[in-house]
Amino acid sequence: MELNEFIANFANQFDDTDASEITASTAFHDLDEWSSLTGMGVIAMAKTVYGKTITGAEIRSCDTVENLFNLISNK
């Protein structure tokens, strides 16, 4: 699992947020477009792209995109 590829996959969950706004240090909960639906999309992405199961509570415990990357890659 590679960080830059993960950031691109994560950025893909957003429709109105430019990919350039999303970096490893982005506090994604603060993004205007972040919602429970985006969270479900991230859970689905973790499963289909990486074969990992994560929960909403785990996503909430992450601050940055890199935290999320670490969560999924450590599963």
Partner: protein, 249 residues
């Protein structure tokens, strides 16, 4: 002393309950046995199935089966006595946003929630395992008509089984076999934790229900008893909402 009036007795009836190892199916199996029925329980997990059986009074039977596997359906049907009631409860939950739905997501939900109960029903009818005047109950969901985010595939699977059941009701009516669906809103089972929701989130959400709580498996089991009993001999082709007053999930 006069006998207590009880139109809901299941005494003398033989009833098959699928998905009986957990959640709503388990509660239904136990309730049916307590109401006097002889119950055949089936599910994929043998240990949990035996645990259900241990909680049921009377002479009951457990048959392990994965209903998405044709050979398992055949083996189950061959092992069954003729039935006065069938409760098709086996099913899975799923929460995936529409933007992310894959062919695998659809198969994972439609196979257990739609294809398996339909093919089990076909097998039961072909093997003539359903007695005249029997009652068939499908556990559908309010999700079929109450949209919620991420629930598209699950809602569609329940909508599919609702439509199927209404046609089945027409076809079986000449033999006075009744077919009805129960559409519960949120019920406390493992299924509602799909999609990353936590127990804390759900306890907050259940306060939005007019009766201030989600359902218990026993709430669904009690309605199921009514539908399996002779108290409901004029009811077929119906889908009953059971929601704690909620209009939305």
């Amino acid at each position: 002393m006069a006998e207590v009036f009880n139109p809901f007795s299941l005494q003398g009836k033989t009833i098959l309950v699928t998905g009986a190892s957990a959640g709503i199916g388990k509660a239904i199996a136990i309730a049916c046995a307590r109401m006097g029925a002889r119950v055949v329980v089936t599910a994929r997990n043998e240990a949990r199935l035996e645990a259900t059986l241990a909680e049921m009074p009377g002479d009951n039977l457990a048959v392990k089966a994965d209903l998405t596997v044709a050979a398992d359906i055949d083996a189950l049907v061959a092992a069954l006595p003729t039935l006065d009631g069938v409760v098709q409860c086996a099913g899975v939950g799923s929460r995936v946003p529409c933007k992310m739905i894959s062919a695998a997501d659809i198969a994972e939900v439609m196979q257990p929630n739609f294809q398996a109960p339909v093919l089990l029903q076909t097998a039961l009818l072909q093997a003539r395992k359903i007695n005249k005047e029997a009652s068939i109950v499908f556990i559908a969901s309010r999700a079929a008509n109450a949209p919620s985010k991420g629930n598209a595939v699950y809602s569609a699977s329940k909508g599919a089984i609702l439509s199927y059941a209404k046609c089945l009701a027409l076809e079986l009516a000449p033999r006075l076999i009744r077919v009805n669906c129960i559409c519960p809103a949120m019920v406390w089972t493992n299924l509602i934790f799909e999609g990353g929701l936590t127990e804390e989130d759900l306890h907050t959400e259940e306060q939005k229900y007019p009766l201030k709580r989600y359902g218990k498996p026993e709430d669904v089991a009690n309605l199921c008893i009514y539908l399996l009993s002779d108290a409901s001999t004029w009811m077929t082709g119906s889908a009953i909402d059971l929601t704690g007053g909620a209009r939305e999930l």
